[in-house]
């Protein structure tokens, strides 16, 4: 059995990157995720796997370094926290437009503005609805443990390359700063240049006589061409919606009521469900693992035997909009959220839930 190591979620991201064959990390310090780059710099993977680690001058530069690296068919990633991700949104739009795979991890803190360095989930809209300009989507994975932080690095790269699209790990200050035991998976080697050329014929690896030049751009000034490009992207997003929805459930089968929560809040609401069951309330939990694509169909199924659904978030109510769209008026949908970096306890969530179902009757 592989060794289990106690580490922070942020450290898990760094170790996973080295061990899953990541070629390059480009980042800029920001609380609460600086341990990612600190761990990488301490591990010096350039001596072991040859992975490049570079501290950029800004998040703007980091994300554009990802554009360059991804263009070469390399597995490249960055990590940041909310204000830094806002700066990256320009680059993310370009990466999505040029159909380039990359991984961005957002260890979310409270906003808007400089906000707080304490945990938040207020970047949901930014992550799943765009953030940057234009019609694009990112695959968004929401880890709920340090092991998830580790495992989702490899998964995000796999999905990013499968769809030639940016993938985002939407974490939060709780999951990033919390230590749990993490099992390190077997090492995967980095791809050689030959393997990259074979697998990713679109990459800018240098034009050889046997192929046309490769140009990675998001620009198309001809209206018809540009609409076609957009349709290609949209078709890809429909494929993701078809194939990549991931979620976990806790006692939803017989549930009268369901809480929907992701990331750290899904952990807290697991305890809420346990407490509710002790009180004889048939409460279940739906934890979306992918926030885009969203488990819309499963939520629709749940409405057939549940009376009420409540979204619990560290925001003023963002994911709840997607829950409402999925429920489509069939049952009432409630919301409970805390702001400012305050993380509610399981008991607090249960109280809020009880208040809301009281009003239903």
């Amino acid at each position: 059995m592989a060794e289990k190591i106690l580490m922070k979620g942020n450290e898990a991201i760094a170790h996973a990157a080295i061990r899953c064959g990541c070629d390059g990390y480009f980042g800029y310090p920001i609380t609460p995720q600086s341990e990612v780059m600190e761990t990488l710099m301490n591990e010096q993977p350039w001596n072991s796997t040859g992975m490049v680690v570079l501290q950029a001058e800004s998040e703007t530069s980091s994300i554009n370094m990802l554009y360059g690296g991804a263009s070469c068919g390399k597995k490249v990633m960055t990590s940041s926290s909310s204000p830094g991700i806002s700066l990256m949104c320009e680059g993310l739009s370009y990466l999505a437009g040029a159909e380039l795979p990359c991984l961005v991890a957002n260890v979310v803190r409270g906003g808007p503005g400089l906000g707080t360095i304490q945990p938040g989930q207020g970047d949901y809209f930014q992550s799943v609805k765009g953030g940057g300009h234009g019609d694009y989507k990112m695959i968004v994975l929401a880890p709920a443990s340090a092991q998830d932080m580790y495992d989702f690095v490899d998964l995000a790269f796999e999905l990013a390359f499968k769809y030639r699209n940016p993938a985002l790990i939407l974490s939060d200050g709780v999951i990033g700063q919390m230590m749990e035991k993490v099992e390190l998976r077997p090492m995967k080697p980095r791809l050689t240049e030959k393997e990259i050329i074979e697998r990713y014929p679109w990459a800018t690896t240098g034009k050889t006589p046997d192929r046309k030049q490769n140009v990675l751009t998001s620009l198309a000034l001809d209206a018809a061409v540009h609409e076609r490009l957009n349709q290609t992207l949209q078709n890809k997003y429909r494929q993701m919606e078809e194939n990549e929805v991931r979620y976990e459930t806790l006692m939803c089968e017989d549930a009268d009521y369901v809480i929907v929560a992701y990331g750290c809040m899904s952990r807290i609401c697991e305890s809420t469900v346990e407490l509710a069951r002790k009180d004889g309330i048939k409460l279940g939990l739906l934890r979306p693992v992918t926030l885009y694509p969203f488990p819309t169909k499963y939520i629709q199924e749940l409405t057939s035997h549940t009376k009420f659904m409540m979204s619990v978030e560290l925001s003023a109510g963002q994911m709840v909009e997607d829950v409402r769209l999925a429920v489509n008026g069939k049952i009432p949908v409630g919301f409970y959220g805390r702001l400012g970096g305050i993380v509610p306890s399981p008991e607090e969530v249960l109280e809020a839930f009880k208040e809301q179902i009281k009003k239903l009757n």
């Binding site: 106690l6 230590m179 609401c269 509610p344």
Partner: protein, 180 residues
């Protein structure tokens, strides 16, 4: 078995590292563990606290409002966490610098004079291990051999020469706690 612990004090008292050693000891025993710190500017000289959960089963919420045990190392933390101990739970505190002692009658209260014990040992840095020893004496949730393994895992190898001193501190803490 499930033990939910809050450790709180000043930054620099070794609050976070004590939590880490406890958590690593739990892993060595095959337990599930979480270690959730307060983080940010309050770590830098201000108060620091960490929630550690050790359990035989998968841990759901790492954020808690009530604890089985509170380990309190300064007055602010006493004010903040005394009422967060579950009825019948345990509160261990270092009386140095405490002006308002705990008033609750429905919990078990112990003191550990870790400042003086660690000074007597000649290693004030082992302060947090004295406190941890006191906790483990009262709640032997992890076997001693696994505590030593956890200690080794938590301390960087270049500092492994300090392990015997830390062991001494743990033992001293086990012997010298006082029930109130």
């Amino acid at each position: 078995m499930k033990e939910e612990i809050i450790i709180a004090g000043f930054g620099g008292q070794g609050v976070l590292s004590m939590g880490k050693i406890l958590a690593y000891s739990g892993i060595m025993q095959g337990q599930e563990v979480t270690w959730m710190p307060s983080y940010g500017p309050e770590m830098r000289g201000g108060t620091a606290n960490v929630t550690v959960i050790l359990s035989d089963k998968k841990i759901s919420s790492p954020i808690l409002s009530k604890f089985d045990t509170a380990i309190i190392l300064n007055q602010q933390s006493m004010d903040k966490f005394e009422n967060s101990v579950k009825p019948g739970g345990l509160l261990i505190y270092d009386p140095n610098g405490i002006t308002r002692h705990p008033h609750r009658k429905d919990i078990k209260v112990y003191t550990i004079d870790a400042v003086n014990i660690s000074v007597e040992l000649g290693e004030s840095k082992a302060y947090n291990m004295v406190v941890m020893g006191a906790f483990l004496k009262l709640k032997p949730v992890v076997e001693y051999e696994n505590v030593l393994k956890g200690l080794k895992k938590s301390i960087p190898e270049r500092h492994h020469s300090l392990i015997p001193m830390n062991e001494k501190a743990i033992k001293a803490g086990m012997e010298k706690l006082v029930q109130i």
